[in-house]
Symmetry: D2
Subunit: 368 residues, 4 copies
């Protein structure tokens, strides 16, 4: 394994860029060389007056510099295809903000190009690297929850109405990438329904409800809302053995694992006293709030990016994860246009290699 | 106005019966005479050993007693039509638990019979009489919220899987009756979509999502869930001027009225620094948690029932409110069977008299 | 053991009386005969119009009735000595609201009289019978918490400023009776300090802080406050192995048991990097919220009263528990008058039989 | 007013140093030149690999550099006197972490030296610059709360047991500096009582209760605890007109202003029904959670430091604020050694210029 640092550039100094810069700077295996933005003064301002990192507006110069082996792309979504393709063609490993590209089709081109050239192509699905999601994934995939019965997410905020994408592409993308990352092997999305409304006449859905039909019969639902007076970020996973509530804003208790559940038993007795069916059994046990470490997930994104490059393997959230997400978002957009009808998710999701990011790590080939 | 007490009987000693008994006993204008249940021992047990109220299993005796002027019906839903019709035909005023009847059609017969005979027919939509809903109604109908932008309810619990009805008829019925009771004049439900799942194979939907398209373009959504590890009962109303969150389980702060909102302004400027559209204006002001009195809503149900009888007027949640609820629930059931397609709400909801319980009080005619 | 019911009377129809009536009526081993109050109309009003219990203003008639074997006393505190003594002299078992009497001295007379006559004398320390306190007691006395390091209680509210007692006798009495009921064997109060203030010039302390020095070196503290804008009822118990937070107003999670703690280790190393002493070890593990049943504690008070009578044994919160509480409250009052100086708790608390209500159950002697 | 930047050095790269560095770097009026620490490698590590700031272990070199006009001192408390005095004697403006010095006496020497030389001497009482405390100060000093009735703070955590100071100097120092900063003009601390315990045998108080007698008769109390399983940071201020609860860990609602209170009215009537004194009136109105901006307080500390230097005036938390805090902490230490007896606060607190940091801004004299 190499011991020298990986030369890096961050492209895009907008909303996410400064975070990429900060985390790249504190990742010792990386040597951040450039922050590139079409607007030079914005790049300079992000770096501040005490930095040795070079601000630049010249992307081709960055891509031409052999000292730069990897780039992190945080430009507007519409430019992802062009920037990422240019970087791959220049032989750079790429970490890209979500979404991978504007469409499944163009995204697939990027994945193919990266594979051809043996380059790491990683999606910055930051949420998937939080300690909470790591814990959720372990709970689901270890069988501790039992059979998955439902998933319910709420992500709302008096948020920024985006100029180019609707609330599904902005917010539900997080829920879908998390869902993709924690589903047990063999369970995958089959169809998607989306309903939305635009009560402020912004020109796109500002409030939306997304239902994902899973292959095991369970339903995953996400409510996303730009107009909510309060910030909510919760996900509940119900299982036959346990259920877990993740409240990402409850810093003192982000995860609560309940030894509670409802199950159908064999014998059916109608309780005469309560008029309730006794065919159902209820379990109401203790709740455990596991001690989950705090930590900046973007740090772990950087670490995984470095590891994928050094070990010549696929990162956890690789290009295929990006494609699976695009497939679900495109189905959601179609459904939205069809008054909420369920639309099939057309990606190759029945291929085991595709539907669980960590189950199978596909080597990305030879890195220079 | 009469000054003598109204002789009363409670029919049904199951889940709700004891509450009706207790509240009837503390309503001074009522004189509770009987608690009637097919199972005599259950009626006796509910009354306990210190009560002067008479337990009985003989409904016809109760209905034949001229001292009984009014009955409260809390029998299983499937029997409502028969019991309520018998009571009306015996000339009794009726307070009935939700739902009014098993179908819109049979419910309409009850409404017609009550109207013909000049009898009060009232639905026990208890939630509509809570101080919180009264406050919400005033906020909406006074215009304090501005234009209604969205309604979002969550009602979940490790609840009792009902033997005869699905989670929509059990739980969403509350959200729909509340919605019916607080909508501003001129705004009414147009179509309903429902998606559900039954991951425990109970034979009916245990988790469901209900969307109600409102006539002003806004969407009301309810998530109801019998399998949730935690109990949640929240409703958020978003408006152009204010938004309000009602968390019914937060005893110290049930209502929170936010001076927050998002609105579309006239001029469209794309902020170059943030890449965000500046056509949208955001308001993030204070939150006010109004001092809402605590009180048992069923007490106020009784009081309204007495007032409707004595003043010979329609109660707030009259038979028409019961019909409007049935219309929405029937549309939800149809949608559930159609994979979530929107179904029109077929009731005469464009009749102003029908779509706002308190806007127009229709006299019930001459009471004996 | 007897099988007939125990004839009972409730004396006092004020704040607590109605609860005693309600719970006596639902305790099948009790046969409630009278509700007695100096103000006959108040007793009648509490019973309502449907009760077969007899209201009366004549205490001597009640005490003369041989069908009454036991009384529950809920009259104003100043009258406890007289009413309880009269009941004991009439041969009745007595359940009395806190405090047992106005002073330790007169309380001791009541205890002696009950012992002489072989009658049950029980304090209604309701809090000690809640499922939460029962759980806390088990945690402490089983050693699960390890060595008790501190106890911290807050009991505040925009509460009723009492006309005759200060905030310590009103509110801290609850914390002290709970403390008395959960301390491990061999740990007992040694001295008490109290500081108070009366910023509204009510004539008595409305805000107070109470410190109890325990025999193991730990400190128990209670902050009680009639002027607080919010209601708080929390108790934290810190132990060397675990710590537990009891928030009585958090209905979904009253108890939280933390696998967390701080301990002094043997070797002292000053961490050069953090400038912190490494002689201290920290443990930050999971939190468990045990599934504690909900239930009305006063029900269990009645059950314990019945059991003590029938089994001719001391109840858990017997007269000695009442005396131990009076000893602490009297020391607090003295300290308050001495600007917060610690005052010794003068009761016979080093007698094992006295300082843990449940450790030793002293038979109350022969019941008629 | 000068327009050039102020040359600055941070001294101490321990717990607080990195925050001072980060905030100095983002304050455009400052030009950070050095980070100085006895341990050179620690200084270098804090700066990282991309910084143009110079790490050094040579304090005298820093103080000799004429380009350095101001220093921020974050060395261990025991060294504050020496380092600050050296900086002042070298003609540097000083921002120093709390406490100013190890004793009131040596702190007073520093204040005198700064005054003599016309240099700004500012305490980094960061809490006093948070938007929440700024709001609290305005509420108190504008009269919106009415007469101050009580102050109650809790600051607990499974915190770091400090090697050199007890929990009062570590945690209560924050509460006392906040109290000092928000008290209305004319209200000042008169005496202090402190009780503590050390259940883990750390050699110093780990749990403590501090009472501050205020000149208007009210009591301020702080409970500080290093052994608590949960982190709590709340302060409640009760007033005759309103009360406010500040929960610093409730990010969605840090401040809650209650229109609630208890007041003594003129006429005394004993309510016969409730047995409660009617001489007291209760007000239970709405609660308002003001929209308080979020922001890093240390930024505003830097801004105030710059403004004080440029405008040649006292900063809000000047050396006198540091002395007032030392006076209270020394009284607390004495009380702790006297079993909690109240000790007078001996500072010149009746001088209006001293007891309210913002009321009177004393010019610091001529700056070079």
């Amino acid at each position: 394994m190499r011991t020298s640092k990986i030369g890096m550039a961050v492209i895009g100094a907008g909303r996410v860029g400064p975070n990429l810069v900060r985390n790249a700077m504190t990742t010792s295996a990386l040597d951040l060389k450039y922050l590139c933005d079409r607007d030079f003064s914005r790049a300079r301002k992000v770096l501040g007056e005490y930095s040795t990192v070079v601000p630049t507006a010249d992307l081709s110069q960055v891509l031409a510099d052999p000292a730069v082996e990897a780039v992190a792309v945080a430009t507007p979504a519409a430019t992802h295809y062009t920037v990422v393709m240019a970087a791959l063609e220049a032989g750079k490993h790429v970490l890209v903000e979500n979404p991978l590209a504007a469409s499944y089709r163009t995204g697939a081109e990027l994945v193919a190009t990266a594979a051809d050239r043996g380059l790491a192509l990683m999606l910055d699905h930051t949420s998937c690297y939080t300690p909470a999601v790591t814990h959720l994934r372990r709970l689901v995939q270890s069988g501790a929850l039992g059979d998955l019965q439902f998933v319910d997410s709420v992500r709302s905020n008096l948020g920024l109405v985006q100029p180019d994408i609707d609330v599904l592409w902005d917010l539900a993308a997080h829920d879908l990438s998390i869902l993709d990352s924690i589903l047990p092997l063999g369970v995958y999305p089959i169809a998607v329904s989306a309903q939305g409304s635009d009560p402020i006449h912004a020109g796109r859905a500002c409030v939306a409800h997304l239902s994902v039909q899973l292959s095991n019969g369970a339903m995953a639902h996400a409510h996303v809302n730009w107009l909510s007076p309060t910030e909510v970020r919760t996900t509940t996973l119900g299982g036959s053995l346990r259920a877990v509530v993740w409240d990402d804003l409850d810093l003192s208790q982000r995860l609560a694992v309940y030894d509670r559940g409802v199950e159908r038993s064999e014998v059916d007795v109608l309780d005469p006293d309560t008029e309730r069916a006794a065919r159902i059994s209820y379990r109401k046990g203790d709740m455990v709030a596991p001690a989950v470490p705090e930590g900046e997930a973007l740090r772990d994104v950087m670490t995984e990016f470095v590891a994928a490059i050094n070990q010549r393997r696929s990162p956890m959230t690789d290009g295929h994860a990006g494609l699976r997400l695009l497939a679900m978002l495109e189905a959601a957009t179609e459904s939205l246009a069809s008054n909420g009808a369920f639309m099939p998710v057309e990606a190759d999701l029945d291929d085991p290699a595709n539907h669980s990011g960590i189950a199978v790590l596909v080597p990305v080939g030879t890195v220079r």
